[in-house]
């Protein structure tokens, strides 16, 4: 089997798993975690292939690209697939003991594996209409998974989530219509090569940005995120916050820096950055005021996505090597958030199971009852604040450095304010968790729940902090390359 097959397998394995888990539902959990593990293995293989042999572009069906659909794997796509597969694997191991009833397993696994399929297919899509189909698969499976919370609040959040996702997809699809009308192709690289600075390009960019901003919950379109992310079952919350919004962000990056590169002026980048800055301030402030741990984590996601967008105005003015470093720092920040936030949601799930609630004020004694879970929360907190040695620390460091170098000092103010607020909400949480109670019963927590949470938290802090250098070399194989 040739090397390019790795691109196909990272998408096909979870899809195959979803189908098998539907038919042999009594083995759904086993099929689920085995296929997640195999997918993670293939994701490593894919990254290795891209490192060794360069960008992989696969013309599906053997047709010329444009007539047929292409799958496109460069360094960035491979890193995102690996991130997604690792988080999915962690959550899959966790979910085996999180869901107690057989019926919950039967419902969870097929949808969960379809979500994983959609994520990998989206990261590897080379065709803009194919991206639309993956976005719909992602939105529908994510919404259905949210509804598994089954409570009224969860159903309502799932419905709103679904409608918002569909609205975003429709805006995106209108942009595709414009691009196909003008350029007669749906392939991203071919459109990038042909793109003109004209009213059509502007309209398409506006529609795509609006649709994807809605999907990534960019301020002021974030209203749907906190209820959806805080009412879903723990492994689902973890994937929604860590991966699903990240998928929309990934598309924005691809479109902004590659497809629409001639149109994305520094002015536009600053406008986007300003929205990011407001997201950081508003999200962090709301997280500080949140009553419940899962709500805190959800608001913190709004803020963290804001940081990611704040990289754009700086990337718009930097050139050459400095720009490559900053781009890598942005990806590092995204990875760090993915691992830290999924760890935090998994830990919150353990807390909810054993304490019966996640009200922050009433968390005293958690350290005594659930020491490992508290440790996970602390590690995730380090990554969310951006303390060393986390990946987020390096990300913020490069952001700070670039802001000073380019004289755009106002981003520094936002960064400092956001970090202070993050410190406050993390320490408020830990303060309550470390509260001492005279007598605490220590529950027996399944190791398969605490270990994956710990592994993800360690990846966010030590893994990314110490292994950051290899990330930049992986990203060096980022291909279509309009300026990357």
């Amino acid at each position: 089997m040739n090397e390019a097959a790795s691109v196909v397998w990272v998408i096909s394995l979870p899809l195959l798993g979803a189908l098998l888990a539907t038919v042999w539902r009594q083995y759904a959990a086993t099929i689920g975690w085995v296929s997640s593990a195999l997918t993670a293995g293939c994701a490593v293989w894919l990254l290795w292939v891209v490192q060794r042999a360069g960008v992989q572009e696969l013309a599906l069906g053997g047709w010329e690209i444009g007539l047929g659909i292409s799958l496109y794997a460069d360094g960035l796509a491979a890193v995102m697939v690996l991130m997604s597969s690792l988080v999915v694997l962690g959550c899959s191991v966790y979910a085996r003991h999180y869901f107690r009833a057989q019926r919950q397993h039967e419902l969870f696994w097929p949808l969960w594996l379809l979500l994983a399929t959609a994520l990998n297919a989206l990261f590897l899509a080379g065709d803009l209409f194919n991206v639309y189909v993956t976005l719909e698969l992602l939105g529908i499976s994510a919404s259905a998974l949210t509804a598994l919370g089954a409570k009224r609040a969860a159903l309502r959040a799932a419905l709103r989530y679904l409608v918002v996702g569909l609205l975003g997809s429709m805006l995106y699809l209108m942009a595709i219509t414009l691009l196909y009308a003008a350029y007669g192709t749906l392939n991203a690289v071919q459109i990038a090569e042909a793109l003109q600075v004209d009213p059509l390009g502007w309209a398409a960019l506006l529609l795509m940005l609006a649709g994807l901003a809605l999907k990534m919950a960019l301020f002021p379109l974030h209203f749907w995120l906190p209820p959806a992310h805080s009412n879903a079952p723990a492994p689902v919350s973890a994937a929604l916050s860590a991966l699903v919004v990240k998928a929309a962000f990934y598309l924005v990056v691809r479109l902004w820096f590659e497809v629409f590169a001639p149109l994305t002026t520094p002015l536009l980048a600053n406008a986007l950055g300003a929205l990011g800055a407001m997201a950081v301030l508003w999200g962090s402030w709301s997280a500080l005021r949140a009553e419940r741990l899962k709500l805190l984590a959800a608001y913190s996601s709004v803020a963290q996505l804001g940081y990611l967008v704040m990289f754009f105005p700086l990337l718009a003015v930097l050139e050459g090597e400095a720009r490559q470093w900053l781009f890598g720092a942005m990806v590092l920040f995204a990875l760090s958030h993915a691992f830290a936030k999924s760890a935090l949601f998994l830990a919150a799930g353990i807390l909810l199971q054993y304490a019966g609630h996640d009200r922050i004020r009433e968390l005293s004694g958690t350290t005594q009852a659930l020491p490992l879970t508290t440790f996970v929360i602390a590690l995730a907190g380090i990554a969310l604040v951006g303390l060393p040695p986390s990946g987020a620390f390096l990300g913020k460091w490069y952001l700070l450095d670039a802001a000073f170098k380019t004289g755009q000092w106002w981003w520094v103010l936002v960064l400092v304010a956001g970090s202070l607020l993050a410190t406050a909400y993390v320490f408020r949480l830990l303060g309550h968790a470390f509260g001492h109670l005279p007598a605490v019963k220590r529950p027996v927590v399944a190791a398969t729940q605490e270990i994956p949470a710990l592994a993800l938290a360690l990846l966010a802090t030590f893994g990314l902090g110490l292994g950051a250098m290899s990330l930049w070399s992986w990203l060096a194989h980022t291909g279509t390359g309009a300026g990357l």
Partner: protein, 312 residues
């Protein structure tokens, strides 16, 4: 000739006027039930528009899936509502007008962008030329089927997965509509309409290789038969009573599609790369199973989930 063109012009204007008025009324009406009815009629007029624009495949799909099934689904939400329901906009009129202006600005921007390129590319065929050139090697002679099942087969495979995600989501809600009012009229209708629908589905599926039609339209017709059976009082709507058989039927289309794709990869051909000589047969196999899956999925979507074992 001139007169004929003039007639088309009148027809176009009429169609568009009716379409837009129906859409506006469906969105703006304060009566929810009326809004649903208007939307269903809107779907039927839209099917006419598709036929007018030389898109018979879409006309067929719109009539069966959009207006037909979409309408049935909407009516299923309504059935128990005996009292009239009015929907008022909670917002201040200034907000309503403000958003109205905003969407019109967006619409104008889209129109401006599109019309700045359309006159120059009006007669170009875009990817149509490439489809035409490769059609002979696709295994089918109808270009839309060739795009769906061969050139852009990956989209279609994922689209089947979207259907699965929706039905899994519906099933997870654990809700089966308790009781339908069994109409005698329906059971009489079902006796002769169901076999006819199944025959039509078979024909539409077969015809898809060389003329408008294919798995989605055929599946929608099958779903029509299922819904009719359900309305006629058959609790399982003609679906197998063995539950694993239902699940197998749901995933069959996606499963065979994926396995054929992967099998070809293992064979050294490449993912979803049909050998030209056998393309026709692979496509037919995939379409047949996809039709069954689509029919079952859409029927179940109407019913609200897999039927529970009914207590005696």
């Amino acid at each position: 000739m001139n007169l004929l063109d003039g007639l088309w012009g009148v027809l176009d204007l009429l169609l568009v006027a009716v379409l837009l008025l129906l859409a506006m009324a469906a969105v703006l009406s304060s009566d929810r039930r009326r809004s649903m009815m208007l939307f269903i009629v809107f779907g039927l007029v839209l099917a006419l528009v598709w036929a007018r624009l030389h898109a018979p495949d879409i006309a067929l799909a719109e009539a069966a899936i959009g207006a037909g099934l979409g309408g049935a689904l909407l009516m299923a939400t309504l059935r128990r509502d005996t009292h009239q329901q009015t929907d008022q906009f909670p917002q201040h009129p200034v907000v309503l007008w403000g958003v109205g202006v905003l969407v019109m600005v967006l619409g104008t921007a889209i129109a401006w962008g599109l019309f700045s390129v359309l006159p120059t590319v009006e007669q170009t065929w875009r990817k149509g030329a490439a489809v035409d050139a490769q059609l002979a090697f696709s295994g089918v002679s109808h270009p839309v089927t060739a795009v769906l099942l061969n050139f852009r087969a990956w989209d279609t495979l994922l689209e089947l997965a979207v259907l699965l995600a929706a039905i899994f989501g519906i099933r997870a809600l654990g809700y089966v509509r308790s009781a339908y009012v069994t109409e005698v009229a329906f059971s009489q209708l079902a006796v002769w309409l169901v076999p006819l629908l199944i025959l039509m589905a078979g024909y539409v599926l077969w015809a898809g290789a060389h003329s408008p039609g294919g798995a989605f339209q055929a599946g929608a017709l099958l779903a029509g038969a299922g819904i009719l059976l359900r309305l006629a009082g058959y609790s399982h709507a003609g679906l197998p009573t063995t539950r694993w058989l239902v699940r197998l039927g749901l995933v069959a289309g996606t499963g065979v599609f994926l396995l054929v794709g992967l099998g070809l990869l293992g064979w050294g051909q490449g993912f979803l790369h049909y050998p030209i000589a056998y393309a026709k047969w692979w496509i037919l196999l995939i379409e047949m199973l996809a039709t069954v899956s689509i029919g079952m999925t859409l029927t179940l979507a109407f019913m609200g989930g897999i039927p529970q074992k009914e207590a005696a």
